[in-house]
Homo-oligomer: 164 residues x 2
Amino acid sequence: MNDKNTEKGQPAFLLAQIGAHAASLFGERLSALELTPPDAGILRLLRVAAGISQQDLSTRLQIHPSRLVAILDNLENRKLVERKQNPNDRRLYSLHLTKNGGEILERIGRVAREHQDALLAALSTDERDQLTGWLHRIADQQGLARGVHPGYQRLGRSKSQRDD
Amino acid sequence: MNDKNTEKGQPAFLLAQIGAHAASLFGERLSALELTPPDAGILRLLRVAAGISQQDLSTRLQIHPSRLVAILDNLENRKLVERKQNPNDRRLYSLHLTKNGGEILERIGRVAREHQDALLAALSTDERDQLTGWLHRIADQQGLARGVHPGYQRLGRSKSQRDD
DNA sequence: TATTGTTATACTCTATAACTATA
DNA sequence: TATAGTTATAGAGTATAACAATA
């Protein structure tokens, strides 16, 4: 057996490698807006799903409810998100984007486009389009939900995977 | 402005999403061998760079030296890796794959191929080849080193990115 | 009795820095 | 004095589980 499988090929490894690289670069760009990737995911979801509860947000983005508290406290303190009372059920909050939240979302969009252009600088426009189509097919076949980044979870390793 | 940028397009986000998904799935498959992704990266590197020191390994895979100690302790206890004394400089270890290490590396290769087939099930062979070529071009243009997964680092977020 | 949001606590993981032995 | 490897410690980040309010 030769080294073909390690020296070339390897699209799965490349996808993981480039994906982690892309997430890291986007995180750096976001930090200029003092935002984290989960912050951006929440703001983006609230634009199209205004009024949802923290519980709902938690399940949609796969972020633990207790973690959401601190994240939303921060976004609310910065007047990007508002917690309104739900008149139908006073246990639930109704989460909304503020005006500032909408504005920063546009800045996030600009940052995302710049990030994307830099990341895909090696490809032509046509190639990017075709790549995008294939990535969508992979994502759909793998059952990945639109707009839900697994990195939002940040789960630790299980005990069986420890090094000691 | 319409929703085009969030509802379609988005290859950068898809790359990050699919990449994290791929890394997660591969990690699950590796756990059946009681290995972590960094373990696999180390074993793979030691096949082509036998005899290197821990310091060298540390810089090549971007794993912190103090973290390497526990990882290598584990691999050595399991007889997958051997620390030999370097006769030229007794401060350095000379790291080598054992026979068992070579065998498990072949099992890792099989696992990686199964993983790759499952991940890219949506694409034809020709499409996979073309995708691979583009990913290589992106990786090269972005300056990513072959076989070095950024996920090996597992850096925490900087203080400026905290949620509190 | 169940559920939402919150808080306190414990746990896991990592880097920092001190330490030893060699050079 | 500098470097390789090791260890101890402290820090950051997370989930778990108990909690109060409401249904």
